[in-house]
């Protein structure tokens, strides 16, 4: 009993810790002037989110978060920042004036409060119908067959197979598009 309680406490602590890290890093991210610093703070947010995914029993997603987001996407961002050599002071002073910033803050808070207001009273019981909750509880209690990948992979390759295949087309298109756009036009001049 004691151990269980401690386990629960440690779990909560870690959850809030990762949440705070994500929050603080996000605020730091939007306030940095330098794009490189901002990108690094964003990487930090993504790591914290990966930790949260882990705690939410989405181990596969946590791995993908680290590999795809931080390892691939953010690296591309950094490449581009360095490629464009955006160290110039005029580029760094990119924040808008004081009033637009305050207004943006207000708009952001308004959005947040609206989302929260929409969510008010949304307890677990309301979010999940009782029969679904019972099923979920049964599924959680049962040993996971086929490891942790199975539950994600099964719908991916069954129900959402078409969408999954279409993402490959999307990626291919994106690659072609990026190559075409990034190519230096030799024939233009």
């Amino acid at each position: 009993m004691q151990a269980n309680q401690f386990h629960s406490l440690a779990y909560s602590f870690s959850f809030y810790l990762f949440g705070l890290i994500a929050l603080a890093s996000a605020i730091a991210f939007v306030t940095r002037k330098s794009p490189v610093a901002a990108a690094m703070w964003l990487v930090n947010v993504m790591f914290a989110l990966a930790g949260l995914y882990l705690m939410l029993d989405a181990q596969f997603m946590a791995t993908m978060q680290v590999l795809v987001y931080t390892g691939a996407i953010m690296v591309v961002f950094l490449f581009v920042i360095m490629l464009l050599n955006l160290g110039h002071p005029s580029d760094l002073a990119d924040a808008r004036g004081k009033w637009p910033t305050i207004l943006a803050l207000f708009v952001g808070l308004a959005l947040l409060s609206e989302v929260m207001a929409l969510n008010r009273g949304n307890t677990i019981e309301r979010l999940v119908p009782p029969d679904l909750a019972a099923k979920a509880a049964a599924a959680a209690a049962a040993p996971i067959a086929g490891g942790i990948i199975g539950p994600v992979a099964a719908p991916l390759f069954k129900e959402y197979l078409l969408a999954f295949e279409l993402t490959s087309v999307l990626l291919l298109t994106a690659i072609v598009g990026a190559v075409v756009l990034g190519r230096r036009r030799t024939d233009a001049r």
């Binding site: 901002a38 987001y69 990119d94 952001g108 756009l181």
Partner: protein, 97 residues
């Protein structure tokens, strides 16, 4: 933990919105969009704890789309930068009809 995760997701999303509204550097705005996508991913993952693994499948899709978007978007930014020598959106009004 679900409610906390959803609340964090909303906060992160709002921060991303504020970033989009306040910054002028195209690359940073892009990163703000990535932050918003991550915030949504967080709610997907949190809710998948209740509704089953389908939520995580959507996260996979989101990541794919984010990757594609990053590739194309950054390519566009590079192309624009070549053209106007800046990534400051205030100086770019190519969309003006």
């Amino acid at each position: 933990m679900l409610v906390e995760a959803l609340a964090l997701s909303a906060v992160l999303f709002s921060i991303g919105v504020i970033g989009v509204l306040t910054r002028r550097n195209a690359i940073i705005i892009f990163m703000c969009v990535e932050l918003m996508l991550n915030a949504v991913n967080l709610s997907f993952v949190a809710l998948s704890k209740l509704y089953g693994a389908a939520g995580q499948v959507f996260v996979v899709f989101t990541m794919t789309v984010a990757a594609a978007e990053a590739a194309v978007g950054l390519a566009i930014i590079i192309a624009i930068f070549r053209h106007v020598k800046t990534v400051n959106l205030q100086n770019i009004n190519l969309l003006k009809g």
